[in-house]
Structure formats: C-alpha cells, structure tokens
Amino acid sequence: MKNFSELLATDLKLDVVINGTARSAGLHELLSFDAEDTVTVDSIEILPKYRHLASNGVLDINEPFYCWHHRISAQGWLLVPY
C-alpha cells in the first residue's frame, strides 16, 4: 500500500466508458457527457442513472468527479477546509 506522499506522486486517472468505448480522464478534469449516451466512470454508472441532472441534453460535471459523485449519491456532508 502506498503512503500519502507516494499516492500524491501517482498520476491517477478515471476510467471513462462512453457507449462501450473506453478512455481515461484526469481526476480533477471537468467532464461533460451527452445525456443520451451510456456512461460509466470507474465502473460507476453515470448515464442513464443521472440523466435527470442534465441540462439542454448535456450532463456537465463541473468539479472533481468524486466530489460530484459524493454529493449526488447522498453520501451526506462533504466538509471543506476554511
């Protein structure tokens, strides 16, 4: 298991699959999907599950994916530093 420093030095990627086609994306990359597509990120279903969050046919994820997923999947408070 990596320690914290080793972890931060690792280039971690998201595994994005759109309609069966795989690509990778950065952990902090902003993502945008056609709401009609079938999408998973790290094997987590995104579309069609969250199609109701799309606007004008597009689902925009305007924050790091895992922060967004925390909020929309009812994981409770996400504390932030002040």
Partner: protein
C-alpha cells in the same frame, strides 16, 4: 494518543497539535492501535467509525486512492501546518447517569460508579467531570463560538438530558446563532425526559436523536438496570412523536452483549416496523466478559440461523451504505447492521472460557440489585450453572 485534559489544553490546541501524531501516522500509512476497533468492524463488514468520518472528507475505502486524491482536504493533509478548526465534534459530557447498565463502567455512569464503590469493585470514585466546572464549560463554549463552520456536534455521557452542561451548551449555541447551521446529535437512555432541554433542541434546524436500547424483551430491564420496558416504551413514544413532528433523524444505538444477542432481533424488528435506523456501537471490547463472542459457538449458530432467516425474509438487495444517516435507505441500513452481527457471530473466535468470570461478576452485581439473570434468560440456565452461576 497522549492523555490530556481540557483543564490543561485548549480543545483547538488538542485538535491542531496533539492529534498530529495520529495524522502523521495515517499519512505514513501506519496501522494505528487507536483504530483497532474500527479494523475489527471492517473485518466483519460492519461500517466503522473511521469509514463514516472519512466519508465526511470525501474518502471511501473501496476507492481509497482516487477519492483521497480528489478530496477537498488533500492540500490541507499535505501541509505541515494544520490550522483548521474542528467542524465535527464528539463531546463526552461526563458520567452523570441515572442508569447503571451492566456492561457500562464508572467513567460513563455515576450510578454504576456508586454501586461499584459500595460493593467493593472500586476503591475510589472516578475523577470529577470536566462539565462540573463552570470555568471549563465556559472555556469550551468560547471554543465553539469561534468555530463558525461547525457542521455537527454529537453529545454523549452519561445521560445527556440530566447533565446540566448539555443545557448550558445548547443555550450558548442558540445565542451564538449556531442553531441555524449546526446539527445536534445526542444519545439518551429512554428512561429520561427533560422538557427544558427538549424545548432547546427544537430550536435547532437539524437534530439526530440516538436512543439506547438493547432489546424489546425483558432482558433490557436487567441489562439497562433500573430501566423498565414499560417506561422505555412510554419515553420512546414521546421521542418518536417529537422526532416526527420536527423531522429529526432517529437511530437506535445498541451495544449488543452476550446477554442480549439472543433477543437482539426484537430491536431490528421494531426498527424495521417504525423506520428507525440502527447504529450499533463497535463490537463490544470491554468488559471482555460481556462480548457476544463469550457465547459458545453452538448457541451462537442458533442465533445466527434466526438472524439469517429474518434477513432473508426482508428480501432486500443491500449495497454497502457508509452514510448511515441517509433517511432514504433506513431499511437497507437496518439489514446491513444485522448482517455484520451474523458475520461476527459466525467468525469471531469462541471466548466461552470467560463464562466463569462473567458468572462471578453477575452474582456480585445481583447481590446489590436483588435480581437474577435467570429470570430473564431461563434458556441459558444450564449454560450458566455449568459456568458457576
């Protein structure tokens, strides 16, 4: 972690400085002895305290590396200087308590402490509670008042409702306007009602109500002495009515022991019927004689069979729920919690060698209380007699 006292150390200094060793250990990837109860819970697929706390900073064990690197806190964790104020508090108010639960200890029950002193289990009473000192309570309140981003304060005791400092702190939080933003959580023993405190609680925008109970069978009277089930039901009905009126989150807080594991299902059934979540504590570690694993394996497997059948009857597909306070998955969370006890009872090593020590303890405490465990658990008479009862 070094033992420190609010008399000597400001809570913020404790959080920022004294907890550095824990943070450093975690960052270095060490397994910490202070975390052993959580490791044991995870071993039995029970959602642990550390999982719940990690979730609040966006970190999940099943996707640990990516969620940690994505956490809003990653730069804070990376920094050598930790200057944050606490946003999520667990506040132990001391040991004022009108219950003397048989698995409890003097540090958490003044009534048990007095009884133990009387029958010779202890020579001296525990140290005075910090909440007995108006100066320390004021110091603590001043700390809260400077922490404008408090999300959650959970109070435990003792019995919170009879601890004067609980009322004092709630009043101060309201005066500071923190009742508009902070969620209050507390645990109460279901034989106490304090209207003045209730009136204060209703001024908070969000409340998590924890209710301690071990069984809806009569063994609850023996274990949570001197509670009576009739009083528990009466008080529970009051809380349920209040919680529904104010949309509070309700949870049963159970501490399963060898004495209650046989009738634990009664709590899950009630919770299921009334949509109340269950958040059992970590698998009881001390006193060792009270661990459910002291029950011989053959007896445990009979309980496991009943629990397994109950779960199967619910026919729920349960995926791991870390946010145990999500009101939309109460039933799944109830099943998840029970599943952890099925796993524990099936796999935790047999500690029935502790039964004679348990019998010695029960007989001494019963000599003070004038009761008998066999009145409540006649099915275990042969087991207990063989062990020396």
């Amino acid at each position: 972690m070094s033992q420190v006292n609010i008399k000597d150390v400001d809570p913020v200094d404790f959080f920022q400085q004294h907890m550095n060793d824990i943070r450093s250990g975690m960052i270095d990837g060490k397994s910490l002895d202070d975390c052993k109860n959580c490791y044991q819970m995870e071993q039995h697929n029970k959602v642990s305290g550390r999982q719940k706390q990690l979730l609040k900073v966006g970190v999940r064990l099943e996707q640990f590396e990516k969620t940690l690197a994505s956490s809003p806190w990653v730069d804070t964790f990376r920094s050598k200087q930790f200057t944050q104020l606490p946003q999520d508090w667990q506040i132990d108010l001391g040991n004022y308590c009108n219950s003397a639960c048989i698995f409890c200890h003097p540090g958490a029950s003044s009534r048990l402490a007095a009884e133990w002193k009387r029958i010779g289990f202890i020579d001296q009473m525990p140290l005075e509670n910090w909440t007995d000192s108006p100066e320390l309570v004021d110091k603590f309140i001043a700390t809260l008042e400077q922490s404008k981003h408090i999300q959650y304060l959970h109070f435990i005791g003792g019995e919170t409702l009879i601890t004067p400092a609980f009322r004092t702190i709630l009043k101060a939080l309201i005066s500071a306007g923190l009742n508009q933003t902070a969620t209050i959580g507390f645990t109460t023993n279901l034989i106490t009602w304090n209207q003045e405190v209730v009136d204060l609680l209703t001024q908070f925008s969000s409340v998590n109500l924890g209710m301690s109970i071990e069984s809806f069978d009569s063994i609850n009277d023996y274990v949570r002495w001197p509670a009576t089930l009739s009083k528990v039901h009466e008080t529970l009905d009051q809380w349920l009515h209040l919680a529904k009126t104010h949309d509070w989150l309700m949870q049963f807080r159970t501490t399963p022991t060898i004495l209650t594991i046989d009738s634990l299902l009664s709590v899950y059934q009630y919770a299921w019927d009334h949509d109340i979540a269950i958040e059992s504590c970590n698998f009881l570690d001390r006193p060792e004689v009270m661990r459910p694993s002291v029950m011989p394996m053959d007896d445990r497997l009979l309980i496991v069979n009943r629990m397994t059948a109950w779960i199967a009857d619910r026919d729920l597909n349960v995926q791991t729920i870390i946010n145990t306070r999500d009101p939309n998955v109460v039933k799944q969370q109830i099943v998840q919690d029970l599943q952890s006890y099925v796993h524990y009872l099936k796999h935790e090593p047999d500690e029935s060698f502790r039964l004679p020590e348990l019998m010695t303890y029960l007989k001494r405490i019963e000599s003070s209380r004038g009761n008998s465990v066999l009145t409540y658990l006649p099915q275990y008479e042969e087991l207990f007699r063989t062990a020396g009862y």
